[in-house]
Symmetry: C3
Subunit: 206 residues, 3 copies
């Protein structure tokens, strides 16, 4: 029950992050709805397609209602939400952290293996945002050094590792969420990045 | 039988709209084929994957033959088709209208629920074009205020609503197609748009 | 057994081509991993989703280990690999040739028809690269006149055609691979292109 509510909250948070693309570009309401839905359910949709299980929102369409409600809310209040600034990014960070663990957990529940579970966690947490940026023609999170995909990676990875080590899944989930949130929070508040690749030779045309 | 012919016609119309991207950029024949196929079958492919049913063109490969035939035709006659101007846009509008209803109808036939059916109608009608524009690096229809995705939405929505109200499915289908065509036609001939979001606060970096 | 090793090699070669995007842009290690995995397994993933069979790397996660190993290797040695220049492009060409035939063969093995098999060969060989370029915001191979998608097309097409004519599948596979490699090699060494479409009328706004 609590998990279910958290799940809707996760979709809602990502839908907010999606519809902000539409508000910044000054698009129409249908674009709000499009980007809210694409970002809100994109990652989970990819996960379910790859796992070969029914896509979650075709089974329970309340997820779509959440995206619709967020779009309507954002159409009227996006300028207030934008003004919040960091709270929006923290909400997005919570979504990222929660989904990295929930994606990995869903993959493990259908009998997949370790690396697949980690990858599914990362995909669930980040694919919606990457899709949104690609369609909108903006550089996606993967092209920036800021911790983002890596935070999802750490969350999904630590959940899977702790589960395999025999820890209770609630403890493993909590640890994964806290780690992902800590890393992403560091990126938001302190600009944490990973070291980037430095070319040690002049670039040649390929 | 009539429905089947309409279905091939829909793929053909979208394939024309796809191959025009290749002709405008002065690409080679394989690019004609690629964009014709991507645009012609992209929306229906997404719909079938999400619904978990066999992808339509893996069952009946005549859809691929349609895309091939359109590519060959366009390779020789794209400049004549381009010269038509508005007729091309009207053909595309017919495809959009027909597919919004057919996508929703297919979703309802496999037992999905209301919102899912509407979403499938919109996806079938618009995803091929969005995919084409994203791969070609052009701004997609979703980024423009012109009625496009919204016309598909109105078509799929009214079809689903009328069906639920107990209307005969043929009447519901006709009403949905006419409404979508009317809205998209208004966008083509009169430049109809939806109101866009106006920011009421200075933009802040997120 | 040999086939299996060739399959891992194909994923590895594409993963190298993917991680080079990350090294050229000076991104972090997670981006190396992301682009290596997206490019390495993207084409085969699309093929399996469209065919409705379990996605290959969810069944055998050694494919993911290959992508991980390539990413680590490239993180340390990308500048040496870049310096090789043409050998990288030839390795990519080998991947393209091998996958065009293997994609078509997998499609035929699950009972699909001729055109579908050819399309699956092309998709397996080229989709990973197209996805990589689209996410990275670069013009993809399909937008260039150079033989690339067309080489995959020739490889998959000749494999399917020879199989239907009753040739032994190993001979058909060899012929398809050699043909694709010959065409792609010609593009690399001699700049072979297909003729492009020349507009014969002034462009009109659509």
């Amino acid at each position: 029950m609590l998990l279910q509510i958290l799940d809707y909250l996760g979709v809602a948070v990502f839908a907010v992050a999606g519809s902000i693309v539409a508000s910044r570009r000054g698009l129409d309401f249908i674009a709000f709805l499009f980007f809210a839905t694409l970002t809100g359910i994109g990652g989970g949709t990819l996960r379910d397609l790859l796992l070969g299980v029914p896509v979650f929102w075709t089974v329970d369409e309340r997820y779509l209602l959440v995206c619709l409600a967020v779009s309507i809310f954002m159409w009227f209040f996006a300028h207030h939400i934008e003004r919040l600034g960091k709270p929006v990014r923290w909400a997005d960070a919570c979504g990222l952290a929660a989904y990295s663990v929930m994606g990995a957990a869903k993959a493990m529940s259908v009998g997949d293996t370790v690396l697949v579970a980690v990858l599914m966690g990362v995909a669930t947490a980040t694919f919606g945002g990457i899709l949104r940026d690609t369609v909108a023609g903006e550089p996606s999170a993967i092209m920036k050094p800021e911790l983002y995909v890596s935070a999802a990676f750490a969350g999904a990875g630590s959940y899977v590792a702790l589960t395999l080590l025999g820890f209770n899944i609630w403890i493993a989930a909590l640890a994964g969420i806290v780690l992902a949130l800590f890393l992403r929070g560091g990126a938001i508040e302190r600009g944490w990045t990973l070291p980037v690749y430095k070319s040690r030779s002049p670039k040649e045309p390929n």
